[in-house]
Symmetry: C3
């Protein structure tokens, strides 16, 4: 046996000698039962909770979405304070283009024929005046409506207010008590939603494959009878959000049309349908709120015959519908599976520690088991003799 | 040795005595090989799959994005049924402000000079009538165009239909067979996209740092030659989405411009470029579809000399381009690394169980190994004698 | 003892015999200390880093958000090149409806009274001509402003350019050096933000519950004194983004109002407040940039008395404010807790391997420990004799 061969053999021994723990088999039914039962609990947790309930073996991805909306319906209004008017989509949907947020006008304050000129302020504690000295020229009152000219003018037969440079006549912000376009509750909206889970290259639309064109022309969403129809009556949306359309139409508000695309994309569970829900997003409580409801101002600009610009100012109240799409898809992935199996195995490998502790403290024959399982190395006494079951003395 | 000192020493022993399993070294090449090979497989999986392929050692974050778009181009249309017209950006991009969704008008149905008045309905099975009795006053036919007045009028020389109160004349919804603004295919769009990964405080724009101003003035996106140019010709976008621009321009549609910002932000792999792809988002199949294509109605309001409001109703067909930005960035994180290493270690600690099983069932000398490795504690027989290799008898 | 009973008993033994490793206790203080210290480090990492710093025991969810914005303020402009004009919200916020992105106009180039007609091009190297031969009829110069008619006309007294068919007069794209509406810096914006974490069914608004209506009417966001007020002065937003409002107002830009809703939803840490920050999103560097700033063109259409359509083209410069909402909420979850505990346990189970190695190589009495711990099975020699501490000879 040369030196090199010996070195190689030693290295081979080092690499391929298999070191395995010596074990002691204890035929104690209680200990064995505790062991198996604890193992069973861990396996049950892994299979039951991690795999079935939480689906932790899955890789997940977030939805990427594109939404189109199209409102349909018309109405006729005939109130005492306004000319009779016929309304169609081009009149009440602002902006006209339906993407994931659309606004349906239900009430309005119109101030026609405004021009850039001078007029007395609306009466308020900060704008009333006695003579011109009360009105500082160029002052810009944040609660006012224009730049002061320095004059004090008659706002009505009884009150004098500072004159301002502004779009005159000023807007009289008095909202009608009843919604002008309460009939909007019968309008319908078609929502087309196309989603993608990029990680899984999965595409789907909310118009499902079993739905045909003729059904789509007459259907209307109903959670019980037509859960797959993508056409929603506005009244139903608002009522499912827990509100009354008539009330909400007066001051406006924001309603979320929430589409949940949470999906299990594994082949043994290929159910991926949109789930619709509706929720009011703004607060209707007047306590910690400013400007409750939803409104915005816009203007239509005209030119008079002599070239002067005039505008019709419209304060539009209405319901903004936000289509909110979210969802997480899961699909079997090797990495999360391994991680969760690994974690479970850690707990399985913890069990012997627990059972050993149980065996050496709670079982009647613990001394016997301890004597056979554990060897105390008495460093002082031993040199070559094997101490087995006899080294307790000094402790 | 006092009592306290003894108690302290005992406690010290309890704390610092090290308990280690007794092991048996088996110089069997097969067993050793199986052991090392299994270890090697696990390590290979961890290094190869978890680290290199899945990058599971990384913390991830989702992109936060802001998009600006600007369309450029003009066209001249001269068809038999319309006045010749010159189109520029302010005419065909609706709404004019370019954010992450922009619409290019390609076809339209124009109904000019509508006023609030009365006119006979368009002929259809539900609107034709013989005399006034067929038309219920105030009836609001969802498939009709207005509120019935109760009269039956001549719609043409041959047909009588119910008169309605509406914006008259009614829109004749007949789409030209050829796209009016098919020339839009040569328009270009500049997309500016600025992204953030908030968790890593990482900001980037799609105009990369090596791109200069003069290049941007003349370049055009081309997957092969100019992959970094953020200026796209509409025709190319649509053709990469697998469609013909001319066909799509007739009835409109929605095309997604998808920007994938998936990035590896570790310093040893700092490549973070946007990847562009294009996909049609609406369905062109007429089977399970309602209102295929993409269109919306809007109106331009005018005032006549005598103050009456008149409008031009436009049903606009065109292509909506949705810029969809998504991405996940990963960066080395201590927690996921630990978790995945831990999972791998669990499997490593599982290996001895497997190898023991292999050794005690498949190897020729299994009885020998078993006898040395495993001690059966025979509770009945033993009191003090160590049973080793002799307790099989009763089994 | 029948055969079946024996088989059953054997099976019972197989199921419930508990196999536990034989262990050796080593009363060496150094080894014990190394063992306990390493354990302590791992436990410290788990408790300190994983639980306290990274909160890895939590399940996370991404925010779903809805935003409303409302700008307030007015201004008066009186410059030499324009008529004096009063501006209110309906004039400078485009589009008027406040969702998560709003635009405040600060500068503009107005080209009034454009009609579809013919006019000479703006002078530039590519448009100047000597006679009609230089102008190809129907040619569509991408850098020009219309379709060439084939004529060469006097653009001014000194220059001749090709005539084009376009909206004439052509826009003269000369931006005023000073922002027209620099006073916009004093406008304020109210941002209402309502968020949801769908996985936890958690809803919250940025108007916190302790804020009342009267405070909201007068407050203004200030990081030091009013961090909860959702009303922001535009000047402050821009200056916190590190920019000067006056500079930015000239050419426009994009500013992100970033709302971070990162939350810890466990009951022992129920702090969930929005954190506001501001950042410029476009690049102001002219080097690798095209069309710096932010602008878009839109037109107001009018009809002249004789029915001809005329438009006022407006190139609007201004600041677009993008409200970007992001956030991740975490809540205690059993699965991530188990996974991270499992990973930590794996490391704990790794410690004995490390300590064994330390004990068998670094400690003075390593030979003694090795002899008692490890048994080498000498396959050649042994048949029935137990080799213990005597099988080193052949190595």
């Amino acid at each position: 046996m040369g030196k090199t061969a010996g070195g190689f053999q030693s290295c081979l021994h080092y690499m391929f000698d298999y070191e395995t723990p010596k074990t002691l088999v204890i035929p104690n039914l209680w200990v064995g039962f505790v062991f198996r039962f604890t193992q069973f609990l861990v396996v049950l947790y892994v299979v039951g909770y991690v795999c079935v309930v939480e689906k932790a073996y899955q890789v997940t991805d977030s939805v990427v979405s594109s939404v189109t909306t199209k409102v349909k319906g018309f109405a006729f209004t005939n109130t005492s304070d306004r000319d009779p008017q016929f309304w169609d989509v081009a009149d009440y949907v602002i902006p006209p283009q339906g993407d994931n947020s659309f606004f349906v006008l239900t009430n309005m304050v119109v101030t026609p024929l405004q021009t850039q000129s001078r007029c007395p302020e609306l009466p308020s504690p900060s704008s009333t005046c006695v003579d011109d000295c009360d009105c500082i020229e160029g002052y810009n009152d944040p609660r006012g409506n224009g730049i002061r000219t320095g004059l004090c003018e008659n706002a009505s037969t009884t009150v004098q207010t500072c004159e301002v440079l502004s779009w005159c006549p000023l807007e009289i912000d008095k909202l009608p008590e009843h919604a002008l376009l309460a009939a909007a509750e019968n309008f319908t909206v078609l929502i087309k939603n196309s989603i993608t889970y990029p990680k899984f290259n999965f595409h789907k639309r909310n118009i499902l494959s079993h739905v045909n064109s003729s059904y789509l022309k007459r259907c209307e969403f109903n959670r019980a009878t037509d859960p797959d129809c993508p056409i929603f009556r506005l009244k139903r949306i608002v009522s499912e959000a827990g509100e009354e359309f008539e009330d909400m139409a007066v001051k406006g508000g924001i309603v979320g049309i929430i589409i949940d695309w949470s999906c299990d994309l594994d082949w043994w569970a290929r159910k991926c349908y949109p789930k619709y829900s509706f929720r009011r997003l703004d607060s209707k409580h007047p306590v910690n709120n400013v400007a409750p409801g939803y409104n915005f101002r816009f203007a239509k600009y005209y030119k008079t015959q002599d070239g002067e610009e005039t505008r019709t100012l419209i304060k539009a109240y209405g319901i903004r519908f936000d289509v909110i799409v979210f969802g997480t898809a899961g699909k079997f992935g090797i990495v999360p599976t391994i991680v969760h199996l690994g974690a479970a195995l850690s707990f399985l490998s913890l069990i012997p520690m627990v059972v050993d502790w149980f065996m050496l403290t709670c079982v009647r024959k613990r001394d016997l088991y301890s004597r056979h399982k554990v060897t105390y190395l008495n460093e002082d006494a031993v040199t070559e003799s094997v101490s087995m079951g006899t080294s307790y003395g000094t402790q």
